[in-house]
């Protein structure tokens, strides 16, 4: 018999393809990028016209805070976002559910949704201004409309993916249609609806800026538009940073909600 010591070890071929959370990686990338910008602009490798100096953006931010202008811009934006997105998401979930549940409505509405989904909603802003006036209502409408279509698509997809075996189980125990909807379909569709909301709310933030570019005195969009037309890059970037933070905040909130209500997920 051969000596086991003569053999060579079996090479390892497994591993990988299993994403795991690495908490420090995200912040590290941010810090590196910002540090590179700072060093680049200070040494002159990057000209001041190409990118603003991050420290200058921070100073702009601090002065926004000090003068109280920050809240004057952020508060109306947040309320527009909240009202518009709430309207759009509620309507979207409602319509998505009816599409998911009723074949006739599905056959009738899916092509309509497919037709309005690719329209850049920004292009419709003048129309909304005529319909709802230049005030808040047209802004709500634009944000709501933009949130609506992706929510519909996510919702009926989520309803389609609810385990039919569970629905048959409900029927076999004689549950009423309403009970099956409330206790089986809705909770089963919730994961899909929530992940759809991540997309819808990001779109809502994009449209918020678009809506505020017309007829708004205060708001993050108005602030960015003003800075842009003056080529004031520091202020432009300060505004954009607020939007990014808003997006991160929304994402984080949905993540928290998911962790709370989807504790049952394997």
């Amino acid at each position: 018999m051969a000596d086991p010591k003569d053999g060579k070890p079996v090479p390892f071929r497994g591993g990988g393809f299993a994403p795991k959370p690495i908490a420090w990686m995200g912040p590290l990338v941010f810090v590196t990028l910002i540090a590179a910008m700072e060093i680049g602009t200070r040494t002159g490798v990057i000209s001041n016209l190409t990118l603003p100096r991050p420290s200058a953006v921070l100073m702009t931010f601090v002065s926004l805070w000090d003068t109280g202008l920050l809240w004057k811009h952020v508060v109306p934006s947040l309320s527009r976002l909240a009202v518009g997105a709430a309207l759009g998401a509620t309507a979207g979930i409602g319509v998505g559910l009816t599409i998911g549940l009723f074949s006739h409505i599905r056959a009738g509405l899916v092509p309509v949704i497919a037709a309005i989904f690719p329209i850049p909603k920004i292009a419709l802003l003048p129309l909304f201004v005529i319909w709802f006036g230049i005030d808040e209502a047209s802004k709500y409408a634009l944000i709501a409309f933009g949130t609506f279509t992706p929510t519909v698509v996510a919702t009926y997809g989520a309803v389609d993916s609810v385990d039919r075996g569970l629905i048959r189980m409900g029927q076999s125990f004689g549950l009423s249609g309403l009970s099956i909807l409330r206790k089986i379909v809705l909770p089963g569709a919730l994961p899909g609806i929530l992940s759809g909301l991540r997309v819808s709310l990001a779109i809502a933030i994009i449209l918020l800026v678009a809506a505020e570019m017309l007829g708004a005195e205060y708001g993050i969009g108005a602030y960015i538009l003003e800075a842009g037309s003056l080529y004031d890059l520091e202020r432009l970037f300060a505004g954009v940073t607020i939007l990014s933070l808003l997006g991160v905040g929304v994402n984080w909130t949905i993540g928290r909600i998911e962790r709370r209500v989807l504790r049952w997920r394997v």
Binding site: R168, Q171, L175, P187
Partner: protein, 256 residues
Amino acid sequence: MDLHLDQITHRYDGAPVLDGIDLHIPTGRIVCLVGPSGCGKSTLLRLVGGLERPSEGDIRQIGTPPDGCLNPLTYVFQDFALLPWRTVAGNIALVLEDHGLPKSRIDAVITDVLARTNLSDFRDALPKQLSGGMKQRVAIARALAVEPAVLLMDEPLSALDSQTRELLMEDLVGLWTRQAFTAVYVTHNLDEAVRLGHRIVLLSRRPGRIRDIVEIDTDLADRRAGQADLEEKRAHLWSLMRDEARAADAELVTHG
């Protein structure tokens, strides 16, 4: 309550899956349906419980369900069909909530069925925390909660490993011995059939027809794995099923 099946024929898109099934399911007995895979035994069970309509023939309930019965024909599914977002107690409550029972009554029923299935300690657990055997116990507890006239069991132990299957068979025998229930029990496992069936109905491969009916008179509680008389019945059933199973295995799949 007895069930009576009269000349049941069923077709999917014109292709027959069941052909002329006549069957009587007497109260207080367990009728096992066995057959090679794809013979339509699960389809027959769905017809019996009204989840599908037979193409021809009819299925009748004879007599009235017992008092307090909330759902005469009650399924136990192979994949358990538990709501993952509800606890053990919540899953049982689900099938009681629609009947306008007072909360105290619902709680009492849940406590009772959990005690009967030895699950009292798992009342607030979520399905993801339970093993397969425990999940199926919950599904059985849920079925018992509605006091069914007939239990319709669709390969209830097929998703479980063999040790768990043995334990659950003992549980089912225990439940039946304490209070005889009526059941139609679909399985492809002949060991389960001879351990749990009073009457074993062997179906041929598609289109399913009744090949043979075997009666076993030994009391359920007296049956043991590998017992001589059971082994003999099992061998008889396997000799009939063997060629059917081989032919069925070699067939091309025509539909899901």
